[in-house]
């Protein structure tokens, strides 16, 4: 009986640890993108796969831009001179293109999860 109890308490402990490691307590890694002259820099952003990340997009232009990605299911208007926060993932390994809807020809880039 006591063996059962100790196994039980061990597994509960392990489950709690796992939960703590994967959930809100773990600080999400943060990445930055910049918009300058209607271009994204870096245009290729490498992020860890299967991890939720915080993406800060700084718009250094005076005009607004809309960060948009069909693959990531994200869209957000970022006014001129402002920064915006988006939560992304956890992403399976792969490439995820994004673009600026207001300047779709020049403002293009992709997130590479690996």
């Amino acid at each position: 009986m006591s063996k059962l109890m100790s196994t039980l308490s061990h597994s509960i402990g392990a489950a709690l640890l796992l939960l703590a490691a994967t959930s809100v307590w773990a600080e999400k890694p943060s990445f930055n993108l910049e918009i300058r002259e209607h271009l994204f820099t870096p245009s290729e952003l490498r992020v860890p796969a299967n991890t939720k990340i915080k993406l800060w997009v700084y718009n250094r232009d005076s005009t607004p831009e809309e960060f948009e990605s069909y693959e990531l299911n994200r869209e957000k208007v970022i006014l001129g001179g402002q920064k915006a926060l988006l939560f992304i993932g956890p992403l399976p390994a792969g490439e995820y293109p994004f673009f600026g809807e207001f300047n779709p020809k020049s403002a293009q880039g992709k997130i590479i999860a690996e």
Partner: protein
């Protein structure tokens, strides 16, 4: 610039235009006043400018996810307004009753919020890029073409719906409103995922079959919130929202029939 601005404006205008044309044609066929419409649009246009001007403050609120939360709130409110309006209209089909002003307010609020959601983005886009002399002509002619196509679509759809019998219009209209309202919930959930209030993931990937950036995908996105790679949480809440609306409409349709002939239900 011209093409970009046409595409942006159409994408934004279509959703509100579809909503307006369905509600107006249902009201027309049921003999319900359409006077609420102009107030909804007026409030929407004023709201677009106000919301667009406040976008900077809204965005930085709530730890940087204020834009997502206010968007999701607006979309939930549109869903609730459409649910309320549609069940009233469905009941009214069989049992004409004197309509209370809540119905008119709900329809006007739904329209106003739909216009604000899309109009504020158009306002931000046009007001930011109009300062650039070389691109100004392309920008504004693009906007006029986009608006023209959006409104023509709205008018065509309105008259096409009116060509059916009242019973059919209410049926088609209710189904379409259910899809539009469900689309609001789908997009609202997307905003909550972006703000990390709901878990992300991928329920399926239909981008090979119907890509979101192709023309049919774009149209479906604008009208019913189509997503090629929705998250499981999004799908679950979407299905729930659609089921609630369909069940409510069915119950209210039956209630209308019963209220119309309480003693002789067989005659329906």
């Amino acid at each position: 610039m011209l093409l970009t601005s046409v595409v942006i404006i159409i994408r934004e205008v279509l959703e509100a235009a579809l909503l307006i044309s369905i509600l107006l044609s249902m009201c027309r066929q049921l003999g319900v006043s359409q006077a609420w419409f102009k107030w909804g649009v007026l409030a929407g246009l004023l709201g677009s400018v106000g919301y667009g001007q406040q976008m900077g403050n809204i965005s930085s609120a709530m730890g940087g996810v204020g834009q997502e939360l206010s968007d999701a709130g607006i979309q939930l409110l549109i869903y609730l307004c459409l649910l309320y309006s549609c069940q009233q209209l469905v009941f009214h089909l069989n049992r004409r009753q004197s309509l209370n002003s809540i119905l008119y307010v709900a329809m006007a609020v739904a329209i106003a919020l739909a216009v604000i959601r899309e109009g504020s983005e158009i306002y931000i886009y046009l007001s930011a890029f109009q300062g650039n002399q070389e691109s100004r002509l392309g920008l504004f002619s693009g906007a006029v073409i986009g608006l023209g196509i959006g409104f023509s679509f709205c008018a065509l759809f309105y008259y096409w719906l009116l060509s059916f019998s009242p019973r059919r219009v209410v049926f088609f209209g209710s189904m379409l409103l259910t899809l539009v309202a469900g689309g609001m919930i789908l997009q609202g959930c997307k905003m909550l995922i972006q703000a990390d209030y709901l878990p992300d993931g991928q329920a399926w990937d239909s981008s090979g079959f119907l890509p979101e950036d192709g023309l049919p995908g774009q149209l479906l996105y604008a009208m019913v919130g189509y997503e090629a790679t929705p998250a499981p949480a999004q799908v679950a809440i979407y299905v729930f929202a659609i089921a609630v609306m369909l069940a409510t409409l069915t119950l209210r349709y039956r209630a209308g029939i019963n209220a119309a002939s309480p003693t002789k239900p067989d005659e329906q």
